[in-house]
């Protein structure tokens, strides 16, 4: 069976700005595929080309075995799309919106059933504006399922939601996927990507920097733990370098200047060995530096992202 999505050397330019710069990936049927990246990374543009909302400057995109440029209507009939921040008609209730959207497709799912699936059965006579943010996003997912699609594309489905609503939506996305629907989603939340996605493409400045399962991406890092040290006084470069076992110093408190929270705070990555931590602590006590605070956390996708881009995730 053809892959759900096949993207080859995709380039999209707006004037002199290159939004998508030679992206290649494929999404297998039945998986949850995530594109992780900061705002402006090119995620939405890539999705919009897959949805045939935009034309690529060059490259090829096929969806469910169909070239999207020459089969736009056929592709649209078989996929479901939730756009980033799109609204629905103000003066129709949920059931009426789903009925209307369904009328555009050759095959459609009964609106009551869809609302039931997303836990909004009791809201079928409500208008969109009467829903909470989480309910609105769940409704957007329901609307993307109106044609019983083989593939759903969700653009930042949980942006702006509170943690509980996000978890709720993750559950819904997993359920949809378990019924055999391929899911492609974008996010700029690391935890979301880690929790939901079978495979993940990390994107920045229009390019894919890495593509693997979240676990493999993390395992690829040389370091396994992040250590956050807060000292009672600034460390010299020599002192920092002396901390044996530190794979690298990511952030030095000196750069943050006056900020009392981060002043004299250092983020180090250390390899996965208990001896490395002990060596580091020994070095600190030997040098006579006072340690005010120490936090040790396993590396996360955030660290992977930092490693790949040299930047923290821009919001």
């Amino acid at each position: 069976m053809e892959p759900a999505v096949q993207v080859e050397n995709l380039v999209k330019r707006f004037g002199s700005f290159t939004a998508v710069d030679g992206v290649t990936f494929s999404v297998e049927r039945g998986e949850v595929f995530g594109i992780l990246g900061p705002n402006g990374a090119g995620k939405t543009t890539t999705l919009e080309i897959i949805e045939s909302l935009q034309k690529p400057t060059s490259g090829r995109v096929s969806v469910l075995g169909l070239d999207v440029q020459s089969n736009a209507a056929k592709v649209k009939a078989r996929i479901g799309v939730q756009l980033q921040a799109s609204a629905y008609y103000d003066y129709l209730n949920l059931k009426e919106i789903l009925t209307l959207l369904g009328s555009f497709y050759p095959s459609k799912v009964e609106p009551g059933k869809l609302l039931e699936q997303v836990g909004l059965a009791d809201k079928s006579a409500s208008r969109i504006r009467e829903l909470s943010g989480g309910q609105q996003q769940r409704f957007a997912v329901a609307a993307s399922l109106v044609n019983d699609p083989e593939l759903v594309i969700l653009d930042e489905p949980t942006t702006g939601l509170d943690p509980q609503a996000r978890r709720n939506l993750w559950g819904l996305i997993r359920e949809v996927n378990q019924r055999g629907v391929t899911v492609v989603l974008t996010t700029h939340y690391m935890d979301e990507a880690e929790m939901l996605c079978g495979r993940l493409a990390i994107m920045d400045h229009g390019q894919i920097l890495a593509l693997n399962t979240p676990r493999n991406l993390i395992n690829q890092l040389e370091a396994s733990y992040t250590v956050k040290l807060t000292m009672d006084q600034p460390m010299t470069l020599a002192q920092i370098e002396a901390l044996n076992g530190a794979v690298e110093v990511i952030q030095s408190g000196e750069q943050d200047g006056e900020d009392p929270v981060t002043e004299n705070t250092y983020l180090l990555r250390i390899a996965n060995s208990p001896s490395a931590l002990r060596a580091m602590l020994d070095e600190i006590s030997k040098s006579g530096l006072g340690l005010e605070n120490l936090q040790i956390t396993p590396v996360t996708l955030e660290d992977v992202f930092l490693e790949l881009t040299g930047n923290e995730l821009r919001d």
Partner: protein
């Protein structure tokens, strides 16, 4: 497509505020014009042709000028020209002073002095009575020094029969055109601009709905709304304020639909340029208001100064109102208004092409 038409109608019906304002403005004007007394006497414009030129005729003219409600012009005008103007309603009255008005020889004739001719149309019966009486009295007064006269022989009334037309009837059709124009332009411009701002258009674009069906459903729903609006405006005008529709109402509604499509297309064009719904509303008003004054909504465009009468012919409201009035007031069949329909048809095509060219979904 059918589902979209019904959904569109449902949404329009539920946007009560918008419907209220769409109807409020033209209905308010219907009420204002309905309450206004247009058929009061006012000032009567009178042209005088003096074939006598004698002192008695001069006295007659001077005395005429003293009558307050007569607005006299003594321009060179031929009787034929004046007769045509009276017939068209561009001139109220014509007084012809006969050659023998002053002739003393004439006065001794048994049949008395040669009669003055007063020419007018049946357009304004109340005023006719007043003017006829005033002029008759004046003539008889001027001749009263010359022996016995028979007043009924001093003035010949030459009355042109024209179909009875109330100014309110003319204005009612103007208001119909105005209501359809403003509602069609502004409501579609604001609606589409809102849809675009909220990414609703984009959401529709990811479905297999074809673009022409989207446009067709919007236009169909709005034209139906325009017909309901037309029905309400005409019903209020006719049943409450005694307006009259002489022609076939089906033709009236057909012209209304055609005009509505032109204005909807203009609304689509504006929505492509407007950055926000508020801007769309402002742009809609900016297009509609000048057209209201230049299109002959309330007053004949012939009364406009400068080159504006010619300019008004180039606007879509003008042929729409001209066709509506010829059908509704003059009772003409729709095919007799073909030059206006052709102009409207041209506008439909031109504005549709413009809309397709500039319209953006994203």
């Amino acid at each position: 497509m059918v589902a979209l038409i019904f959904a569109n109608l449902k949404m329009m019906a539920r946007n009560r505020q918008a419907i209220f304002w769409a109807l409020f403005f033209p209905l308010m004007l219907v009420v204002v014009f309905g309450l206004f007394e247009f058929n009061g006497v006012g000032v009567a414009d009178v042209a005088v042709i003096d074939n006598s030129g004698g002192p008695r005729a001069e006295l007659f003219r001077e005395r005429l000028e003293e009558i307050k409600f007569l607005d006299l012009e003594f321009e060179e005008i031929t009787p034929d020209e004046a007769r045509r103007k009276v017939e068209d309603g561009d001139l109220g009255y014509l007084i012809i002073i006969p050659e023998l008005f002053d002739d003393p020889a004439g006065q001794v004739q048994a049949e008395g002095p040669a009669p003055v001719t007063l020419l007018y149309s049946t357009r304004n019966p109340d005023r006719n009575q007043l003017v006829d009486g005033a002029v008759r009295n004046l003539v008889s007064d001027i001749h009263s020094d010359g022996g016995p006269v028979i007043p009924s022989q001093l003035l010949t009334a030459d009355v042109i029969q024209v179909p009875e037309v109330d100014y309110f009837d003319t204005v009612l059709l103007g208001l119909l055109g105005l209501g359809i124009m403003t509602n069609s332009i502004i409501s579609i411009a604001v609606r589409i601009s809102t849809f675009r701002n909220q990414s609703i258009l984009k959401r529709l674009l990811v479905t297999p709905l074809s673009i022409w069906k989207f446009f067709a459903a919007e236009i169909a729903a709005h034209v139906l709304l325009a017909l309901v609006q037309a029905g309400i405006i005409l019903a209020l005008g006719v049943f409450v304020f005694g307006g009259q529709i002489h022609g076939n109402i089906i033709w009236v509604l057909l012209v209304t639909s055609l005009g509505s499509i032109v204005f909807l297309n203009i609304g689509f064009v504006l929505s492509a340029w407007a950055k926000s719904p508020a801007a769309a509303s402002g742009m809609g008003n900016a297009v509609a208001l000048p057209m209201m004054f230049l299109g002959g909504t309330f007053f004949s465009t012939a009364a406009l100064p400068w080159i504006l009468p010619q300019l008004s012919l180039a606007l879509p409201l003008t042929p729409m109102l001209a066709a509506l009035r010829e059908i509704a007031i003059d009772g003409e069949p729709i095919w007799d208004t073909w030059p206006y329909l052709a102009a409207l048809g041209g506008w439909v095509v031109a504005t549709a092409l413009a809309a397709v060219k500039v319209f953006k979904f994203g």
